[in-house]
Amino acid sequence: MEAVARKGHRFFIMRSLVILILMSLASIPAMAQGNSGRTVTIDPVAALSFGTLAVSPHGGSIAINPDGSTMQAGAYQVGGVIAPAQFQIEVKNGKTYTIILPSSATLRSASGGALTLDSFTSDPNGVGTVEKPSDIGQLLIGARLNIPPGASGVYQGDYFVTVTLFE
């Protein structure tokens, strides 16, 4: 009887620990947002804008660098604003963060056309820091837009940027 009770007690402890482990695993992403008061936020300030382009019948590409400079092949600006994306990074109880850029993204037109964004670059590149006392930094992102022959219209799309505080 005692043995059975002890076995039941052990089973209860085991089950509790398993639940605790599962809760621990499940809570990692949530706690990562602000455990120990350490947080990082990223807010879009300006969109990645390629302006209005005229493109060669053979298609073309235009790359915007984080500093705003461009490299164009078969495409040239005829209007609008060409500018890198701008983000504000705000850190609490930290200083250094890593940046994860997408490998590609798709812009679409209302008529169903698609353009590909790739070769994302950023400034800072890979790892950024924020300075005290503001704890605020700026992240600039550029990318290359690939335009196939015959593409026309207004295209837009989303991409994701992730920052992770590690120091």
Partner: protein
């Protein structure tokens, strides 16, 4: 066993306590791609059929009117005409090569001239269907008593019209 699990749990909780803060932003990218700007010559510049009465220059303007030398016109003078297509309601520029060319009937010649001043518009606009027409005139120098014949540019091309957004 319980102790191991407890230690493991404590360790995992410790790790999660040191977990990196992370945030992801969704951002937008935009571009407008204009339709290819195309130009097609739909009408040659035609000075008509002339009987020259005196020396002088004879012009066909972009609107089809004529002026200059005293001639008797037996034909229908027409400016050159170009059909432009592109993105609706967009502005575009026109540039005409600055040309002083020779027209010939195979033996004799006369001088032909055109440039930007002879275009119906230099800062033009496509309409709501993405179409526009650009007309171009020009001027020839005539001499009373010149040898008759059909005078035309070598190869049929006397000038170049360039359009751009």
């Amino acid at each position: 066993m319980i102790r191991r699990i407890a230690l493991l749990t404590a360790g995992m909780l410790l790790v999660s306590g040191l977990a990196f803060a992370q945030a992801t932003a969704t951002a937008n990218a935009t571009v407008e791609i204009l339709e290819e700007l195309a130009i097609l010559n739909t009408q040659q510049l035609d000075f008509g059929i002339l009987s020259v009465n005196a020396d002088g220059n004879y012009a066909v303007n972009a609107d089809g009117t004529t002026n200059g030398a005293t001639v008797t016109q037996f034909g229908t003078p027409l400016p050159a005409s170009f059909a432009i297509t592109g993105t609706v309601n967009r502005a575009f520029s026109v540039t005409i090569s600055n040309v002083v060319a020779t027209l010939t009937n195979g033996t004799n010649t006369l001088t032909f001239l055109t440039n930007n001043n002879w275009a119906s518009c230099l800062s033009c606009q496509l309409d709501g269907t993405g179409a526009a027409t650009v007309n171009v005139g020009g001027r020839i120098s005539l001499v009373d008593g010149m040898v008759g014949g059909i005078y035309e540019a070598a190869g049929g091309e006397a000038f170049t019209v360039t359009v751009a957004y």
